[in-house]
Subunit: 166 residues, 2 copies
């Protein structure tokens, strides 16, 4: 099956001629995977070491990243079509909506992975837990969420967020 074929039950929309915000690629991800046949569907904490190269002028924005064991990585799934709202990943005609799948085919094809930080070099990170193709454009890096030791001071909304319905 070719990449752009549509399987039984799948549905594509006419892609709207609009762009609401612009992304800038801040780096590039190096992984062992170059085809759909070998790329894992979801990264694993003990997966192979991958390298995230950060472009300038963003090297300085890594300052302090070495203090985190787990980071979140956002990347642009540059080979994915964006118009398939119903998909049949099992090829059996059973369809699900794009938002009920972690498929790379989405209106805004952004992948997110939680990875373990294995090393920091000048302008690069070494991590485990990715699941994207070699050469995937990087769009963001953040520390993983930290429910118990927030670095920032409390604001009124922090307490408010614990209340039930309002």
């Amino acid at each position: 099956m070719r990449d752009n074929d549509i399987r039984a039950g799948e549905k594509a929309i006419d892609w709207p001629d609009a762009t609401d915000a612009g992304l800038i690629f801040i780096g590039r991800i190096r992984t062992p995977w170059t085809s759909r046949l070998d790329c894992p569907r979801q990264g694993q904490p003990d997966g192979p070491l991958c390298r995230i190269d950060i472009f300038e002028p963003w090297h300085e924005a890594l300052q302090g990243i070495e203090g985190f064991a787990r980071i979140e990585v956002l990347y642009w799934l540059h080979l994915s079509r964006r118009d398939l709202i119903l998909q049949s990943p099992r090829k059996d005609g059973t369809t699900r909506g794009a938002f009920a799948l972690r498929s790379p085919l989405r209106p805004n094809p952004i992948g997110t992975s939680l990875v373990t930080l294995a090393g920091v070099e000048d302008g690069a990170l070494l991590v485990r837990g990715l699941d994207c193709f070699d050469g995937t454009p990087l769009i963001d890096i953040k520390p993983d969420r930290c429910p118990f030791t927030p670095l920032a001071l409390q604001v009124p909304g922090d307490a408010e967020a614990s209340e039930k319905d309002r």
Copy 2:
């Protein structure tokens, strides 16, 4: 302090005149928060009920979402400046890189939250666990990662991802 002031130790870059990919807003998030003073820094599972309105033509892409207890939400932090590579969130002059913070100020200002799904309506989701302003543009919804019961069939890369360095 005004929003666009730079604190001691912070550093802005000259914003590059480039756009590498275009996002489309697929919905809008309704929350109780309308200012920085009351918006929580991080969503909490028992936070207030928030509503995610999906635009057409993406209503059908929600099909099957009701089967998930936790979903991941990606949104565009539309009020955030993008050029601050060093930031001083504590206002004390101690700086960290943008990628070592979950600050909304980032080169590509995309927020991610893991939320609990409290209800599904026609073209809308009710969730708890968000931390963004009322009116924030939506860019993606995915089921939360599911390490034990992947819906998709295994591919060779799934096993490969468990091996150590290659």
